[in-house]
Symmetry: C2
Subunit: 395 residues, 2 copies
């Protein structure tokens, strides 16, 4: 039987990161390639106690069908935190609980884009989001990145050149894969351009709670007086990634359509874990827990940057994140990325080649992504040494 | 701001059942409108113990990112049960765990259908599936139902008339909303036609474990020697609907694309609950638990059919299910469905009007769906009495 796969899926490749993730079950590999939160960051004991309590006290609520919008108490908790910590007060906004931040991104595209419409994205960007857009038949157009965010001149050119642009997709805070943060000035300029060209901004902020250095920069959503920003968040990095709980905060009209789109994807998000999540984020343990994770990643990121400084040759460029999970390194012009990534894996260090994050899947790259949340401290030290040794070939 | 919603979502209405479900939080309403499993069918104590054990013994596996395909041990358990109880031995098939049966249906359409392609469905059919197809830009074409399944002559006509047909969507066992079962003869004929016209059958079997009367009929997937059947199942009716765990069994090539499509929807299904599910279905308690649920629904269905026999006038037709959750009733020609449904709700009995299940959203209906798994025994008796009183107006 020859299967006639739909056009939008036929051209879609599995995420390189997910494929690498499968190989990470090998404990001999130093996993700089993952995007996993540190295992020690999970509040296991709290989850254990709360799961037992919820199943004892509210078993039917926890196990029966629930509403698509999400557990009302969790939605309220999301709104409260968005207001208190992210300046999002949402006059005309509403919140829906999603099955991870990923689902929020995919739903916004499904709601806003017809096949052939354009999503403008940072280049490089998060591959899961780009593929989510492509799975809806949207075309991704990339805008070059600078150290403080998108090149806004090129963003305006992309908006002018693409009258079918419906979304600007952006990870302004601790960008994946680059680890950089878009400056406040650029955020205001991007907002201005979105408004001028009648395009919705999709602000992805899964790492927003993980600032361990530098100064807070306001979310783009907090500037949204025109109802043009859809904002996605996640509990994957601050509670548990396996639970698949995230949220989307957007103007009511977009949310009401996202509810319909979610209904036909999975009816609602796992309700037992929504309840566990709610009990955690409303407990007295949540803020100290966030502080503990920030401290953990501050240390791990510091270790990695120290390793890079000590072991990498000077012709390798790298970013210095103020939060999040990633450092982005760029090889000198003479180096060949594929060869480097293969050499590293041969020495049992897995990194993600920058090509995996390109908006244009066929474009070349000289960069690679390093993650410091998954490996142990010892692995970070040893892994950067090993990479350094390989990199010295390119001097 | 005027939002330009995508064409496929702009026309999609929220499921009438989901909307009715929201009103069901009113405890005064007798809920014949839901499709919820009986609350007493949840193995609460087992889930409680296993959740604690899993979080104690394998906390990182249960809380960290996992693979899109699903928890390997659960996939193995699904394959074993499909082979032992449903005749599905799957030479070239593979299994993926989905976020409820709903996601499996939506993924198969996303993988197989371009915008404008056609899904042929039983008419009436499960609204969640139909909207899932529409959300992918597919067109739904309905085929008239008889008491033993689709009118196969009309199915062939639909296949002939619609060269862009890619899927036949069918709930052959304890159909939702009608409660009927497609005969083995018709299943073989539907398979033959799908093969003849080069179309994939999407067999939806969420109630397959709930047979409480009559004789077993082989699944269409068990007849699949050509790799043309995709089969969806669910743990919503036998373990917990709130957990959102289902599965899709289909030819490898379809599954590999479904994995990519699922990756961009929710990365993977909640892993803690996948592990709880696996420990339950592989335990000694599972088969006795299934028997207990079947016995429960046998009694509840019997109560409802008794109530109908005793209280409904003879000009109201109804089906007599051998399993599943629903009875389908049809009013005499003189009656007006909308008026009846409103009168019933006024008397605090909620039923779903047949119009909610029509393939053609504007088509009329004289039928309504009754559910016997959600209401208490007492409510079934009282509710059928109340409906009977209203129905006598139409004699």
């Amino acid at each position: 039987m020859e299967y006639r796969i739909s056009d939008k899926l036929a051209s879609l490749k599995p995420s390189a990161i997910r494929e690498i993730f499968k190989s990470l079950t090998n404990p001999e590999i130093i996993a700089f390639a993952a995007g996993n939160p540190a295992a020690e960051s999970f509040p296991t004991e709290f989850i254990q106690q709360k799961a037992a309590q919820i199943l004892r006290e509210k078993p039917v609520t926890a196990l029966q069908y629930s509403i698509t919008e999400g557990y009302p108490e969790l939605r309220a908790a999301v709104k409260k935190r968005l207001s208190e910590a992210f300046g999002i007060d949402g006059g005309d906004d509403e919140v829906i609980i999603t099955s991870g931040g990923q689902q929020g991104l995919e739903l916004v595209c499904k709601v806003m884009c017809n096949e052939g419409d354009v999503v403008i994205a940072e280049d490089p960007s998060f591959i899961g989001a780009l593929n989510g857009f492509r799975s809806n038949g949207a075309k991704v157009v990339g805008v070059e990145m600078e150290s403080d965010g998108m090149n806004v001149g090129k963003l305006e050119k992309a908006l002018r050149d693409n009258p079918k642009a419906k979304l600007i997709y952006i990870i302004p805070t601790f960008h994946n894969p680059m680890g950089i943060t878009t400056s406040e000035e650029k955020r205001r300029e991007i907002y201005r351009l979105a408004k001028k060209y009648g395009v919705i901004i999709l602000e992805d902020n899964p790492y927003g709670e993980l600032r361990f250095g530098g100064k807070n920069v306001p979310t783009i959503k907090s500037m949204d007086t025109d109802g043009i920003v859809a904002y996605c968040g996640s509990y994957s990095k601050v509670l548990s990634s396996g639970m698949r709980i995230g949220f989307l905060c957007a103007p009511k009209e977009i949310i009401s359509k996202a509810v319909v789109a979610k209904q036909v994807e999975d009816v609602h998000t796992n309700i037992l874990c929504q309840m566990i999540c709610e009990s955690f984020v409303t407990s007295e343990f949540y803020l100290p827990h966030l502080e503990k994770i920030r401290e953990l990643y501050r240390r791990k990121c510091g270790l990695m940057l120290d390793g890079i400084k000590n072991c990498f040759p000077e012709n390798v460029e790298y970013t210095s994140p103020e939060g999040g999970l990633f450092v982005w390194c760029t090889l000198p012009a003479a180096a060949e990325l594929g060869e480097f990534v293969a050499s590293a894996l041969n020495e049992k260090v897995a990194v993600v080649p920058g090509t995996a994050f390109n908006c244009d899947v066929d474009a070349p790259s000289r960069s690679f992504r390093l993650n410091y949340s998954t490996p142990s401290d010892e692995q970070i030290v040893r892994g950067t040494e090993i990479l350094g040794k390989i990199l010295r070939k390119y001097r």
